[in-house]
Symmetry: C2
Subunit: 327 residues, 2 copies
Amino acid sequence: MHETLAEIGEKEILNRLRCFMPLGQIDDDTAEIKTNKNKLLINTDVLVEDVHFSKETTSPEDVGWKAVTTNFSDLASSGTEKILGITVGLVVPPDTSWEWVKRLYQGIDKALKQFGGELLGGDCSKGQQKLIAITAIGTLGPLRLHRSNALPGDHLVTSGPHGLSRLGLALLVSDPILQSEFLDDTLQKLAIKTHQQPIAPLAALRALEKCKPKDTPWRAAGTDSSDGLLIAIENICLSSGCQAVLSLSSMPRSQDWPQGSHWDEWCLNGGEDYELVISLPPEWAKAFRETWPTSKTIGTIRSGPPKTIWETGKEVKILPCSGFKHF
Amino acid sequence: MHETLAEIGEKEILNRLRCFMPLGQIDDDTAEIKTNKNKLLINTDVLVEDVHFSKETTSPEDVGWKAVTTNFSDLASSGTEKILGITVGLVVPPDTSWEWVKRLYQGIDKALKQFGGELLGGDCSKGQQKLIAITAIGTLGPLRLHRSNALPGDHLVTSGPHGLSRLGLALLVSDPILQSEFLDDTLQKLAIKTHQQPIAPLAALRALEKCKPKDTPWRAAGTDSSDGLLIAIENICLSSGCQAVLSLSSMPRSQDWPQGSHWDEWCLNGGEDYELVISLPPEWAKAFRETWPTSKTIGTIRSGPPKTIWETGKEVKILPCSGFKHF
């Protein structure tokens, strides 16, 4: 009789939740807390075992690390200057070993030491399935990134290569698709590292802010590519009401990334990349490329009904992120 | 080989997590976020289906309401002046109806309208079991309540009666223990209401702050009685290194509360009461009793190794909270 969440799907769920949220908030990676003294950004991410991680591919330390960095990635892609801290909501079956919990917190601790912020308490309960809900909070810097800030004429840049995390996962589960491929050893190691211990793009954000040309205003659209590069671009186009024109020759492939259609597909839709995807004035994009070595201009923004096309005019197909589905 | 969480128990889990937290934090209901401009309090609570609520006794609206108020109760008992907002981490099985989710958010919305604060986004994922992780954030008022602030000579007061929520649960599940009892109708309704839609003691905190005698310093120990009245008192004694002396004749029973040992037991150990439990100078306790009609002085604080005793000298038995166990 009643529709289930599986039936209506993630997009429609978010759409229906709009009425409970302050205006515009559902279109951004984080929410803003307005105190009368300063502006803070806050974000919550939930990682569920067998949905977002599995014991086969992710150690408890890496679950802790990833739970922190996925959160910090959202904060970075909204303009966070300084991480203040996190709270941890942990649910685990009662037969979970203390060893597992300790290693999880060691991973959390390691990530906090690298990116900043304190552990600000939390809660812990038994449940059927392991899961970790982290809320992170930070102060807003000079550049408030919204998905809705893109303007025609902007360049579309990303802070780093895409597809590495998806390749890392394939390597970890010995995906048969890799059997016939020769893969550079360095690329393999980097891919596994990127999958297991991704980096939150806080340093990339700082570099972006630092290189802004003097006369260019503090205006840019941004999100992160945690759900895949194309989804990130689509979200910017939808929120800003514009089109993205991508160049096939400028795809943000990693060094020694093989040729072939599934390799392009992993680059575009692989997910869990945690790079900034930014739409900004051309002169600022140029300055960022010069200052941040892994950054790349991947296309341009033009007016028109929201869609993403190749420069040949062909529409870009967005596939559901191959990593996981929330519903 | 490895100890499980069920084996080591909740207290020891918390104890072992100390090394990951800033000093003293694990002894308080909330954590403090220090920005260079203002002080904020933050708290995360996780409610898991079949651990903290069940569909038999709690509607989705009430799950939403309770998830918010349990959190706000922690904020109140640490000294929160104004609620800024909450984030919601929601995990539900994919066959959950949209109707359930909508009603949950309606309950959240209703609580926010009553107590203040905005919905600041969140995250949603599929999982085996329904659960909701809420993080709430507020600004600190003039009185920072710590569990460790009690001093010998203090009076121990609570903002309201205890045991009502436990009675409400018993009524909702038609507990056989109630068969032979005659219960006043008003008491029954109040008990069910208290169980399903508890009130966060934010107004009680404001009244407490307002009635402070001019020459009395801003110093009081506090916590809430979410895990039971005696646990709250024990936590204050442990953190402050002192003893509580309770008066049997001053137990915070509700009006028309029946006589009998299991009624006392529900009052002392029932849990989910969400009242303030405060240790403070006698003159301030007196002023609070005069200003807040449901408040009561339940005992005094004296020096000595942490324990809770009756004024007869007999040690008070703290039973595990009858409502639920985290592990």
